[in-house]
Subunit: 676 residues, 2 copies
């Protein structure tokens, strides 16, 4: 039995209520002459493992998250990402093991989750760890102090980053990690505690709870109206596709084959042939387009469907951004002329930009993908690209593809030439375009904060919460009843004015507790109504995004509240746009490229358009281990910059401008960035 198998034996099947465990490896500062002794920390996912506490507990100096090299040299394991606790069995030299006291205190029968696939019962895991002489450390005791009101020097900034991301004033119920310091931990909390989403039993799949699904419904309605107005009809094609049909377009299937999920069994019968679950529906639909389109009068055909697709990604899944099943719409159209098709591609892209900018208050840059990044099997891909300030990474928002005649030739989607039978038959010019629930993740990443979700009013399921306040022990029952009564009237008036309002009149919770609750959930406006407001026929309106307060006369309720909602919507957009605009940096010379990238910017550079150069830029901009630089966020890959798009809005190219990287002439400005 190999060591791997020995550890695997401990594992149990996935459990929905498992507690997540992280295992981090730190390397303390060590004199060059000495061999470093790594520190392995096993802790609850939600525990902040402050390096200061680790240092003091283990008697080491400045422990930092270890680089991949250390994993290879000490644990025969390729990288931090691949590392798991089973690797401890194959350690090649000494290491220290630190165990989180909070883990020790969980029940013995508790199932713990080590990574996407591995689940172990706590008692068994503890027993396993026992052999490595662990040291139990209480991370909750000595929270490192925040260094506020003190501008850190550049070197101190790095140290600060390494400190715990725990928020000092976070209540148990609220967000406990700082968006700036642990973005990915923050993202997970803001989604789950904000009740947008829950983690699911099957890895890579997530539950969309009403708060996020309602946003999807708003998007559906808006986009559906737009496409129906240009003649698109909805339909539904099966989720299954036979291997033979799936494999018809070679370039296309190559792009998806590694991620296709296969059904091989029904009940207790093996299927004669395995059947794929659609990763996208080009090959599902086009054989029928070929059948239905018999004359040029049958063109254009414009169908769309709202469905889920499955791409069994093996990379680290992330809620909304990379999931094994996701909801989307996919439009598939076939046109008689190339011009018609191309016009539609851009029309749809405008709608996609509208979803981001008008509904989600997320600014995007529209452009074209390079040959390397375009949709496999199509002619060209247009895209809207967003930007996540915290990580400085670009994110693909939605894509609209012109497939040219590639698929129509493969599937024989052709008609007699309208000029007459003596002319060659015409193959249809096709487009496909899709927008997925990813948009919700982008929106959350951009607007939300350390108090929880911040939702743009136009898409929020609930826009206003009405709360009675200022009720104390001294308040009489009559006063209390009158305030409640009037608050309920406010709520009803708002609803009658088509504002998605609700109230919370529960006396079991204090107003403060409720404030925190609805901030966590991102309700755009809080309307506080107390005795003073009652007396003055007014109500206090508080914006979620910036706590800005407005006193609104009750007589102005129906006119002012929608205005405040719209102002908030616009402010969210402006703030996000400013961040994107100031972090989209023009770089003409290569020497400035990586430094600008490392400052969490995306880069707009003159570029030659050659794929080899594109790959060179990616390689050359990947972060290297220079022995100095410190990787604060263990989850941020040290990736190079990809092309995000060739923006439609082009800066003027200087005559004879060279490519930012190579010796060739630049043919256009291109947007580069690290990306999701």
């Amino acid at each position: 039995m190999s060591l791997e198998e020995a550890f695997a034996k401990l594992c149990v099947s996935a459990q929905a209520d498992a507690v997540a465990i992280k295992s981090l490896v730190f390397k303390p500062k060590t004199p060059k002459s000495a061999a470093p002794v790594p520190i392995v920390v096993v802790a609850l996912q939600c525990t902040s493992t402050s390096p200061a506490i680790i240092a003091s507990a283990t008697g080491t100096k400045e422990p930092r998250l270890a680089r991949d090299e250390l994993f290879a040299s000490h644990f025969k394991c390729g990288s931090a990402k691949e590392f798991h606790l089973g690797n401890l069995l194959q350690a090649t030299s000494e290491f220290k093991l630190v165990i989180d006291d909070a883990f020790i205190k969980t029940q013995d029968s508790q199932v713990t989750q080590l990574n996407e696939e591995k689940f172990v019962v706590k008692s068994q895991l503890a027993e396993y760890l026992e052999q490595f002489n662990p040291q139990v450390v209480d991370f909750s005791q000595e929270a490192p102090k925040k260094q506020e009101n003190k501008k850190p020097s550049p070197s101190a900034a790095a140290v600060n980053q390494a400190k715990s991301a725990a928020l000092d004033d976070a209540k148990l119920i609220g967000i406990t990690v700082d968006k700036k310091l642990d973005f990915s931990g923050w993202y997970q909390q803001v989604l789950t505690k904000g009740e947008m989403l829950d983690y699911y039993d099957v890895s890579g799949c997530y539950i969309l709870r009403p708060a996020s699904y309602a946003i999807w419904e708003v998007i559906q309605k808006w986009f559906d109206d737009k496409i129906k107005a240009i003649g698109v009809e909805n339909a539904y094609f099966p989720m299954f596709v036979s291997a033979r049909v799936l494999e018809k377009e070679k370039d296309h299937v190559e792009g998806f084959a590694p991620e296709v999920a296969w059904v091989t069994r029904a009940g207790s019968s093996e299927l004669e042939e395995p059947i794929a679950i659609r990763p996208t529906s080009e090959t599902v639909m086009y054989p029928y387009y070929a059948k239905w389109i018999q004359s040029y009068r049958d063109l254009p055909i414009k169908l769309n469907q709202w469905n889920s697709v499955v791409r069994w990604e093996f990379k680290h899944p992330q809620p909304f951004l990379r999931t094994r099943e996701f909801l989307w719409q996919e439009g598939h159209t076939a046109h008689l002329t190339k011009q018609d098709a191309e016009e539609e591609v851009l029309q749809i892209l405008d709608f996609y930009a509208g979803v981001y900018e008008e509904l989600l208050a997320v600014p995007v840059v529209k452009g074209k993908k390079t040959e390397k990044e375009k949709f496999a099997g199509g002619d060209f891909t247009t895209t809207c690209e967003g930007y996540i300030p915290q990580t400085g990474r670009g994110i693909q928002g939605a894509t609209s593809h012109h497939l040219g005649q590639n698929f129509s030739k493969m599937f024989n989607i052709s008609v007699e030439n309208p000029l007459g039978p003596e002319h060659p038959k015409v193959f249809a010019h096709q487009n496909s375009w899709g927008l997925s629930t990813r948009v919700i993740g982008v929106m959350v990443m951009i607007h939300s904060d350390n108090k929880g979700l911040v939702l743009p009013p136009r898409v929020a399921q609930r826009q206003c919460v009405v709360l009675p306040v200022g009720i104390s022990a001294k308040t009489t029952d009559e006063q209390r009843a009158a305030i409640h009564q009037k608050a309920k009237e406010v709520e009803q008036r708002l609803r009658a004015a088509n504002i998605r309002a609700f109230g919370d009149y529960n006396d079991h919770y204090t107003p403060g507790w409720k404030f925190a609750q609805y901030e966590l959930k991102g309700i755009p406006l809080r309307l506080e109504f107390g005795p003073k407001d009652m007396a003055q026929d007014q109500i206090l309106v508080v914006r979620r995004n910036d706590n800005r307060k407005y006193t609104v006369k009750l007589s102005d309720l129906e006119s002012r509240v929608p205005e405040i909602l719209e102002e908030m919507q616009k402010d969210l957009f402006s703030r996000a746009k400013e961040l994107f605009d100031t972090h989209r940096v023009m770089v003409d010379e290569w020497k400035n490229f990586v430094p600008a990238l490392n400052k969490k910017n995306v880069i707009v550079s003159p570029w030659c358009g050659v794929t080899e150069c594109e790959e060179d830029i990616k390689d050359s901009s990947a972060k290297r281990d220079d022995g100095e630089e410190f990787e604060a966020d263990e989850k941020a890959p040290s990736m190079g910059a990809k092309t995000l798009c060739i923006p439609f809005e082009q800066p003027k190219l200087r005559k004879d401008q060279l490519c930012v990287k190579c010796e060739r002439k630049a043919i256009q400005y291109t947007m580069f960035g690290r990306s999701y």
Copy 2:
């Protein structure tokens, strides 16, 4: 190699463009002293294989479709259903083989489809059949004459039924089989030629084309508004479920296990554990209900999702009615009290009845399922039951289940007792309820006719078609342009009045051709506009369902057209209701039960409520081979009567009334019928 294997070798993989082949076995009238020589007929599915032609070609008398006994005695095969052409190899005695000339004339490379799974290239099939000395017969030559205007005597009726179901006057483009004579062939044609649906490459899956999906959208909108008004929220749960979770509720999983599709592979990797595709989402959702519901204040929780589910049925699939993937909504709610839950079950059932009666113009009977027929794992099931006049069969419309505390105990969905911690904890009272695209199939079966679809105006994607008429060779260009111009104005005025109108101004087709086209597609109203109408400021409105004509003043357009649409909606419902009401027969004595059933009725009888009696009724009402009765429709199973529901509207039970079947006392009236 067994004979089965020898035949299986011929088979190729499923093809979307395969031509369907039927193989029927007839038994000619034979003197009692002689052994019958069966006639096997191999024909295109669309060929009418008139017994008269078979008789004349083979020199036999009155060939009739053979019963199961003959299949067993002559082909070692259990039943007509199981029979396929491979069985010819194991024939135990002489038979005649007749091949349809139309089959012989198909291209040699054409792939033919023998049944859901078997596909054979035509040349190979022909070669295989050659060994049995076939006789080629041209069924198209001598169509049997219709016997209209002549009331057939009872015995002649049976003979007529056996005759071809081909419609004499059917154009190639239109429906070519008679709803009365070949209901299942008609249903298939009306759906595919009406462009509601197309058959798909993967068996048991179908494409919902815009005409049917648009109906689903109308239903979605209507129902979604209703449930949101009672506090239900939409969400989306993953389509995958682990075996461990799926199997948690034993009764429940037993009901679904044989039909569950399993994903076992992703890309080229085998999954560690197979993952099921949800057949329904009780077990997907309830672990999270247990997690989310922490206090009685978290109740009720009312979630719904619009999704697709997969049930890999092995019975003969039928578009909309029995499909391996289907669209539906599933609502899952958990309540603090049984009373709340029970009230909601009935509220939802009313909405379901509303979908049928108000939108689809389909009358239903509401009631409760028996213990035998209820949802596995639940406490009780309520249902709306429909009726298909052509087959005389009942059809389950939609069900709303009260699950009691069975699932909440299994998944520990519990809260502290509101009365205080000293009282026992409370398990939630749960409901689940679902309505699927099946509703569309029921609607089509009930209203549509031999000219094609008939769609109720409230759900039709397109409600009115405006057509210029009366344009001849003598019409001047100006007149023609003026008529077109005015017709387009009519169309636009209707659309401005929120009527889903369109026009067809194509000069390539005659008005007659267009009439047939839009009748085929079930457009509720045809608006004909010609020179005479132009002169008199009027338009001719023709109803699809009964060809009733209205002359409408153009000035009354916006008021009259909606009225005519609503009248048509009501008339469709009234006609269907009359058919259901007159075919729902009260039977108190067993001797009248089967005769009434055989007259295509559903039966309402006093019943004891005992499951053994229910099974006895089913067995005793199954059609038997009495040597006389003639089974005209090869696709109608000779099934017994099941309980459809215990209607809420109960006839008054006579004192001491006995059960219709057994000696026990009746406890209620129950609706029985052959069913889908």
